[in-house]
């Protein structure tokens, strides 16, 4: 396994809610990433965002790890939930909040509001 793959895995496994997206929550670069982020925020999820754009390698290695071909990708407690369409649909039916509650506990909304992490090695 490459170092990059290992760092991607670390984020997936250690962050309560990981969102691999194009851009950052402050500057979203893709409609689907925006839809996933909005759905997660409306459900009150503490989102840890990873921008896949700085290096095409990130996207490749992420898909190798997750088996999911497209961006965005949402993980809750290490489990792949899906892309924008799935997260939106789960949010509409209330299943997303249920999933968050059962994975993170009743107080999940009180956790930190969200942050951005990088999977690239600092230069």
């Amino acid at each position: 396994m490459t170092d990059l793959q290992q760092r991607i895995k670390d984020v997936i496994e250690n962050e309560p809610v990981a969102l691999f997206m194009k851009g950052t929550p402050q500057f979203v670069m893709c409609g689907n990433s925006d839809r996933a982020l909005r759905a997660l925020r409306e459900a009150g999820a503490p989102v840890t965002a990873v921008d896949v754009l700085p290096d095409p390698q990130i996207r490749q290695e992420l898909s190798a790890v997750s088996g999911w071909p497209t961006i965005p990708q949402v993980f809750i407690k290490g489990e792949l939930v899906g892309g924008a369409d799935i997260v939106e649909e789960l949010a509409e039916t209330g299943e997303l909040e249920e999933k968050l509650r059962s994975a993170l506990g009743d107080g999940y909304r009180a956790e930190e509001p969200g942050r951005v992490v990088s999977v690239l090695t600092p230069a």
């Binding site: 893709c30 409609g31 689907n32 088996g67 999911w68 071909p69 497209t70 792949l80 939930v81 899906g82 892309g83 924008a84 369409d85 799935i86 649909e89 789960l90």
Partner: protein, 80 residues
């Protein structure tokens, strides 16, 4: 160019889901790379959403890999 890609995706989906009650591919922007696909198939019955989408992604693996599909929206339905 858009129509060619729509046809290609339509063909791939219909061969992957021969029993589909509905297959619809839409070129969302007219540019031939942003697509919305709708598939209704009994194969989705009882499957979690993520596995339903996984089947669609698998059917479209080639155009996803070769860059034909820049953005994909998926809507799946079972028959129940």
């Amino acid at each position: 160019m858009g129509a060619v890609s729509v046809d290609r995706l339509d063909t791939l989906l219909r061969s992957a889901f021969p029993d589909a009650g509905e297959v619809h591919v839409e070129d969302r922007t007219g540019g031939g790379d942003h697509f919305q696909v709708v598939v209704a198939s009994p194969r989705f019955d009882g499957l979690p959403l993520i596995d339903q989408h996984r089947l669609v992604n698998e059917a479209l693996a080639e155009p996803l890999r070769d860059g034909t599909i820049h953005e994909l929206r998926i809507k799946t339905r079972g028959t129940t």
